[in-house]
């Protein structure tokens, strides 16, 4: 308890609180700009953090982390261009809401959802870190493979009406994830066309800008003279979701999404984009009004935004209790601690107990700061869609370009973006849904990695399937879900095929 009070005392100081606000603000900006993302923001601020003490450094970096994960929702909702990979699933319902004139409401829902998810995971972090880590490390490569395959099977929630086009889109995503050196051993160059720049694969930022942003800009450029979408919003100082969008009927969904997000966060190696995607597909599967998903329902926004912020606290859990970062951002935060001379590992709780509480408290305050800043900012953000498109589009193009240069500092990525943009435009205009492509891309390389590891560990796929483990059950579940979805969705297609056969 004295540790807690000591931590409370050091966090509630003007300097630390100010740094939390600054960090969160910077994070939101980096999150909101397509192409700039949280890992970039954290890596950029890392050198600054040396000069600060340990606690102020954590305040700054964790603020950026929390703000960055949430900030992606702004452009995802208003422009259908996810600011970060974590916000990909937010576009599915957030943008349709915006189109209906509910942009400000969607932003309020997303912000509120982020706050709930982040706070939930901060509470889990405070009380259950050690026991949950012990459970999490019991999951091996085969279980990861099962989880990933199961997540992929949930694509049936995303494919929309035309199942065939949905699955084609998913396979394009899986294909893109194959580009580069083979995962695990790096011995085979795949689809690199002799260009070394492709050996590292197509990075997620590049894919998002290419597949999402460019086609959106292109199609908007074709409609410059049409009326701009006007976001309807009441003049308020502080935005919270309307009564119909925050009642107790959303509590089960929020709990479910918080748990999924936190769980994905704890699993080392899985990030917030996977968490949000999995939560969204799960929410669609368990929802009473499945049909509303994708057309602009509050549930869809909640599912994505609650989960992606829940990942943040979750990802800190294995870092604090074992020195194992839960995702790429926590890996950099861990490096910041190491550079401060603190060895992060299983002894952190005993050697620096108050630091652990500091991190928990900062996480909590950063979520609060994110909620306040974003809620205050909503009227400002919502104005974006009222800006005439001929002003807005060049600005977006510029932001995206800077974002893409900042990934690897090279022009090559521009060309990749243009090619992906053409692909995205062609797919969009031929009614191929893009969400399955992104799901396939996000999960593709992990699926391969964990399958190959499983084969190294256990010898053969048969051996893996003989094990009584969560992985095996998940693989079986994935097959069942896929078959069931195909049969249900294709009822008339099957009918037609059968009739044709009977005729023939």
């Amino acid at each position: 308890m004295s540790n807690f009070l000591e931590a409370m005392g050091s966090v509630i100081s003007p300097e630390v609180l100010a740094l939390i606000f600054v960090g969160t603000f910077v994070g939101i900006i980096f999150g909101a700009i397509p192409g700039l993302n949280t890992p970039i923001a954290v890596a950029l601020l890392l050198p600054f953090s040396y000069k600060l003490g340990t606690i102020p450094a954590m305040a700054l970096l964790l603020g950026v982390y929390m703000g960055g994960i949430s900030g992606g929702l702004v452009s995802a909702i208003l422009l259908r261009i996810p600011g970060t990979a974590a916000a990909i699933a937010t576009t599915f319902d957030g943008y349709p809401m915006c189109k209906k004139g509910l942009g400000a409401e969607a932003l309020a829902i997303g912000t509120f959802g982020s706050f709930i998810g982040g706070t939930f995971s901060a509470i889990v972090l405070a009380f259950l870190a050690s026991p949950l880590t012990k459970i999490a490390i019991q999951f091996g490569p085969w279980d990861y493979f099962g989880l990933m395959i199961f997540a992929l099977s949930l694509v049936s929630a995303l494919v929309g009406k035309n199942v065939l086009k949905g699955y084609i889109s998913m396979f394009i995503g899986l294909f893109i994830s194959c580009i580069g050196l083979s995962s695990l051993d790096g011995l085979t160059k795949r689809f690199t066309l002799g260009m070394y720049q492709l050996e590292g694969g197509v990075s997620m930022v590049i894919l998002i800008i290419g597949i999402y942003a460019v086609p959106e800009i292109l199609s908007a450029a074709g409609k410059l003279r049409e009326d701009v979408t006007t976001a309807h919003f009441e003049k308020k100082r502080f935005y919270v979701p309307g009564k119909e969008n925050r009642g107790p009927k959303y509590w089960p969904l929020m709990l479910q999404s918080s748990i999924i997000g936190t769980f994905i966060g704890i699993m080392p190696g899985l990030g917030s984009s996977t968490g949000a995607m999995l939560s969204y597909t799960a929410a669609q599967k368990t929802s009473k009004n499945k049909e509303a998903f994708g057309t602009g329902c509050a549930e869809g926004v909640y599912a994505s935004e609650v989960a992606n912020n829940a990942v943040t606290g979750g990802a800190l859990i294995p870092m604090l209790s074992l020195g194992i970062p839960g995702d790429s951002v926590t890996a950099i935060i861990m490096a910041a601690l190491i550079l401060q001379g603190i060895s992060v590992g299983p002894l952190l709780f005993t050697q620096h107990p108050s630091l652990v509480y500091v991190i928990v408290l900062v996480t909590f305050f950063a979520n609060l700061a994110m909620f306040i800043i974003q809620s205050l900012g909503i009227p400002l953000f919502a104005r974006i869609v009222q800006v005439p498109r001929y002003y807005l589009l060049p600005l977006i193009v510029m932001c995206c370009s800077i974002g893409c240069i900042s990934v690897n500092n090279r022009l090559f990525d521009f060309y990749v973006i243009i090619i992906l943009g053409i692909l995205g435009y062609a797919l969009e205009n031929n009614k191929y849904p893009l969400p399955p492509l992104l799901l396939g891309y996000i999960l593709g390389s992990d699926i391969e990695l964990y399958l190959r590891r499983s084969l190294m560990y256990y010898g053969s796929f048969g051996n893996c399937m003989k094990m009584v483990s969560p992985g095996t059950f998940l693989v079986i579940a994935a097959v069942l879900v896929t078959v069931a979805a195909l049969v249900m969705k294709n009822a008339d297609l099957m009918d037609k095929l059968l009739r044709k056969k009977a005729k023939g």
Binding site: V26, I33, P47, Q138, D185, G186, Y196, G269, I332, G345
Partner: protein, 353 residues
């Protein structure tokens, strides 16, 4: 409208920040470094002693970018940042920024540096893994495609088991593996140095592990913690916190002498390995510059790293993470690289075929 302007301001602020962080990396078209007209491109021999007096010394006009070809927070990132932090204080207001360009086992970052302007403003962290991957046929370039600058840090690999493992000593492990050929799970990161160490260990005692991949990030310790692998090889720095907490036990370190922090753990030489066998087991990091970088710039950078390697605080920070500040100047480092590449390819011929 005011609000719009403030938003635009906020955006531009963020963008400037992003740009600031990267200025060192952008190939400059305007600023030409004042290194004179003399170029030393292509000269393999580094007669650095004479050049200093004749040509104006290199003074950085911009920030220098140190490219770490792996992800942020990894084994090569932390010592690089410790060095860069010290060096940044001594560059007359200019900074040394660490830029992580990961991917393809370090190949992407190396290619980026290889193709960047040879002006001394972009340099590469080069791990021993490049020599290994070249020997395996995974890379088609060597240190000869760069201008090696210096060696600046080494780290020690070690063999670890869980503390409840039946293997108390390295000999126990050998006997255990011989009794169950192909059954003992050995965790390594594929494509990393430990892969060769495993080949050497298997060849030395004529035994066979079931070698499995546990990845290259700091996540790998989970595999031994959870007992999915029986033994693992990793850098001592990555495992020390688990040794201290009593989760892991070290069986051997891959170093010439015992590690000061673990005086009870024998070296592979003591266990009976020859120097030839252990020559491919030490993790060294050097600095490489693009081919054609002027000798003055190379001297300048090497000098900065030497000063950092002699700084007590930097050394202390490195030691705390189980790294050793071992500086080697350009000439010695070239000789070292030559020998290292030779021993890796000999080794590959003998053991992998």
């Amino acid at each position: 409208m005011k609000k719009l302007i403030s938003l635009a301001l906020a955006l531009s602020m963020a963008l400037t920040m992003a740009a600031c962080g990267n200025t060192g990396k952008q190939p400059s078209n305007s600023g030409t470094p004042n290194t004179g007209s003399q170029t030393t491109s292509g000269s393999g021999s580094q007669d650095t002693s004479g050049s200093g007096s004749q040509t104006p010394a290199f003074v950085p006009e911009r920030d220098i970018t140190l490219v770490n070809p792996y992800e942020a927070g990894g084994t090569s990132d932390i010592p690089s940042r410790i060095y860069a932090d010290f060096i940044s204080q001594n560059m007359g207001g200019r900074l040394m920024n660490v830029n992580c360009i990961g991917g393809a086992g370090g190949a992407v970052g190396a290619q980026e540096v290889m193709n960047s302007n040879p002006d001394g403003y972009t340099i590469l962290v080069a791990p021993a893994g490049y020599a290994m991957n070249y020997a395996k046929g995974g890379l088609d370039w060597t240190y000869e495609n760069f201008e090696p600058v210096c060696l600046y840090v080494t780290s020690v690999l070690a063999v670890a088991v869980r503390s409840d493992s039946p293997y108390q000593t390295y000999q126990d492990l050998v006997e255990g593996v011989k009794a169950n050929p192909g059954k003992v799970n050995m965790g390594i990161s594929t494509g990393g140095l430990p892969q060769f160490s495993v080949y050497a260990m298997e060849a030395h005692d004529d035994m066979k592990f079931n070698t499995v991949d546990i990845g290259g990030t700091s996540v790998k310790a989970t595999e031994l913690l959870a007992g999915r692998v029986d033994v693992m090889i990793d850098s001592l720095g990555g495992m020390q916190s688990y040794v201290e907490s009593g989760d892991f036990r070290l069986l051997a370190v891959f170093a010439d002498s015992r590690h000061p922090a673990y005086p009870d753990v024998p070296t592979m030489l003591e266990i009976g390995f020859t120097e030839d066998e252990t020559s491919v087991m030490s993790q060294v990091f050097g600095i490489w510059a693009p081919k054609g970088t002027p000798a003055e710039a190379i001297d300048y950078i090497a000098g900065q790293f030497e000063a950092a390697a002699n700084d007590a605080e930097t050394v202390e920070k490195l030691n705390a993470q189980c790294y050793t500040a071992s500086f080697m100047d350009t000439e010695d480092y070239l000789g070292y690289l030559e020998a290292m590449y030779a021993s890796f390819s000999d080794f590959a011929k003998t053991y992998i075929g």
